[in-house]
Symmetry: C4
Subunit: 281 residues, 4 copies
């Protein structure tokens, strides 16, 4: 969908995942520092499965939206006597969503009885991001200069994230890589919104001049401002997670001193309590 909504939808998906990760990974990292290896790992497995299902649902929404918007291809690939292609743009976007869907499927399979080897889930996510990157690369050739440039900046975030996730397939649960991925995902989310605002101003207004070199220069700089903001969001959420864990620790500590009896419970403290608090009590 070459309109504002077509950019706002994937932007929201990426933003949601990015913000969620910016909370999840610091919480896990910090709570593991506090009490080493409790049975929280099971809780995280459940989270990964839920994330996988969310990816599948988001991908389905995206694919259906691309196919069945009023000016979509409605699942026709070619038509007419001359067998001309129908709405290839929408089909390409559908393909991008498809790979994220596949990534969700592998996420779910990893924690199924099949025991798909750990690491394949990250590999598949990396492939999905690479696929998005390559499709975008060929997608925007032969477009006006500003359109091409604003999309090609996205490629920096995409290939950066794809490489980083590829490394995660081998260095799993590395907090540095996870926060890097997080910041790049937030960047991708906000940048999709920015593309929407620049190319398809939602409240009308005059469009940006496509061939003005200073627009290009501003957009380049703006991309890095988005990244600075994404980094600040990540740092802020890390700090919030830190405060949260500190408070949990203090509360649990007091309980331990006061009662002794609830020791067993405090073992699965902090993050587990936060994430999974109600399922066994």
């Amino acid at each position: 969908m070459a309109n504002f909504k077509g950019h706002a939808l994937p932007g929201s998906f990426f933003l949601l995942f990015g913000l969620w990760w910016s909370v999840k990974y610091p919480l896990r990292y910090l709570s593991e520092k506090v009490n080493k290896k409790s049975h929280r790992s099971q809780c995280y497995q459940r989270l990964e499965v839920i994330e996988g299902v969310a990816k599948i649902i988001f991908a389905l929404i995206g694919m259906l939206a691309e196919q069945f918007v009023p000016d979509g291809p409605h699942l026709y690939l070619y038509s007419g006597k001359e067998r001309s292609w129908v709405k290839l743009m929408n089909w390409q976007h559908t393909t991008m969503y498809l790979f994220y869907g596949l990534s969700g499927v592998v996420d779910v399979l990893t924690y199924s009885p099949l025991k798909v080897p750990l690491g394949l889930d990250r590999l598949m996510l990396s492939i999905a991001v690479f696929a998005e990157g390559f499709l975008f690369y060929y997608h925007v050739l032969h477009r006006p200069m500003l359109d091409q440039h604003i999309h090609s900046l996205l490629l920096i975030a995409l290939f950066g994230a794809a490489f980083s996730i590829l490394v995660e397939a081998f260095l799993r649960d590395n907090i540095v890589l996870e926060l890097f991925r997080t910041s790049l995902t937030i960047l991708q989310g906000t940048w999709f919104w920015q593309i929407g605002f620049v190319l398809f101003p939602p409240w009308g207004g005059q469009a940006w001049v496509e061939d003005d070199h200073s627009n290009i220069m501003f957009v380049t700089m703006c991309f890095f401002w988005h990244y600075a903001v994404a980094i600040l969001i990540t740092i802020t959420n890390y700090t919030l997670a830190y405060c949260c864990i500190q408070r949990c620790k203090r509360n649990n500590g007091e309980i331990d001193i006061g009662l002794g009896i609830r020791k067993q419970k405090s073992d699965r403290s902090s993050l587990a309590t936060l994430l999974n608090g109600s399922d066994e009590e």
Copy 2:
């Protein structure tokens, strides 16, 4: 051979290897999880030698086909008074096969008494894929747009596989890398067939318009559909391997309980039985 057969032949070779690997690696991974370190490793060494020999044979077939088809160079490199080059296309294809042949030779040498260091076999395979990639890169310059684009998409699969195999030289027997290689090999196989169908429609019919931009767009997308299918094939075969191993385990378990005597045999169970069942009994 710039015709349908010239693309179907290597396509079949890659497809054969890809499908074989999509069965072999899951079987090995899953059977190793069940019974740790039995003498199956010897059985796998034999398989690697057989693979090496298969590579050599396939490479020889490919080289002979490229040289001795009716319009081939018949081993003449230049001819005439002016020493003009003869059929350089076929010679370039011959060179591609040559490197896969060399990779087969190093595979065989690795398990010969020479004890070529482990890892060199993977390095040589990686070099063969890189060589194919670079030859293709220079091969398709100055061709019509669709021809060039459809071949250059192959480069993504080639360089991806080459890097992945290069890493395998140092991270040997890593199931994630092996399945990645498997999926890219299947992709390469099916894509060679696709190139054949697009550029040289075997049942006649009208050729694709070379300079139509929407053809380019479709072909890009189609490449990623091929990859999605390659991934699904890999997942399916992994699942089949899983079921197969589960059945073997259950059968062996029952025998163990019932007889006790056949314990020794069941040690080399599952994959070894499947692959090598008849050679000692």
Copy 3:
């Protein structure tokens, strides 16, 4: 600031950091070889915090200079009825400084009670260098040939350093990577000065001919001479550090024999004495 000062300022910052590192890392490496694991690590943490603060200050100076020089944008991003962009060059330079400032902030946070995971400081520095690289890349398109070439050579140093620092996020305290980073930082510093001298000769004189191909050739070669000098500086400072550590060792050894009492003090010898000598005595 597209003038001599605008290149001399960042050049001096990089040169200062490069020279400081070319002393610090050899001293740390050699003193660790002499007495293994003393409480010097604390002293190095303090140094890292000081470096972080220095980065923040340098970044602030740079940003303020870019904004408030007489021909700067004075914090106006656009102006006039037509909302035309104001001095985007200066804004882009401000953005480059901003990322180094962020890197300083993460450096400080790493050793704050927040316990930001080790490695994120290196990752952030790497991102800052990448950001500088990408901004430069788009910055110099559409400029005269010599201008473009002399800046694009800088990209070799920038992307080299960015990759090397990225690896440091995972291979922390690796002396090989640290000295590589050091040499590339010195190179960047001297090259900024060189750019200033070539494009904006400070003592007037005739400017270089922009389109002369032999100027391009000389500049390419000159860049590598700068690097050779940067390597020689690093080697020289390493040698000085070696001599310094040797003398300290000899002195401490004599004291140990002579007095015995000062043993405790000599434990935190060599580098700690040099860097931190006066803070507890």
Copy 4:
């Protein structure tokens, strides 16, 4: 020197090093397999120092040759009233040799009392190869097509070798990387000779047509034939080393059985005997 000799000289240097490495590394690898960790390591350190000195000498020869051939710059960088550059080609070649000289210096320093950290020698060699690569890259722009292509193929070998040596800085004494470097060095050596034969046929004869596309195609393929030969040379020398070590082992074994007394000597057997046989006896 843009003539046959100017390519034959560096070609011979690389070929010499490549052939020497193709003997040295297999010998070391195989002899280490036979008797684990003897005092041979000292012997290899001496060899590395000798290699370093050889690099310095070769680099000096190359630099002097480039400067003082009859049509060389004789150390003049610019001349005349207009300060025009003198023979920048030769100056660029001199710069390439310079970096290999620096690499030799770091090799020697590594085993000096200075104790330059292990790994810096490999890093410096990698930098030398990168420098050669980048200089070549800018060197051949704006040249006739065949000239440019034949040199740019060299870049594949150069950047491949540079990356491989960079990895060696961290994975030292890895036989796979060492043999890869060996094969690429042989390739570089033979390819320099090939460039000489193509661009400056030494026995006169007609020059190759610069703009003939089939010449380009042949040259591409020929480059890979050179690499196939380089691999075969490496395999052959490995096999010879294997036979040599086997014979040594058998001889030493017989001595051990026959005399018992010479046991001590046989400890430093095989390669040490070969390389260093006469220095203590």
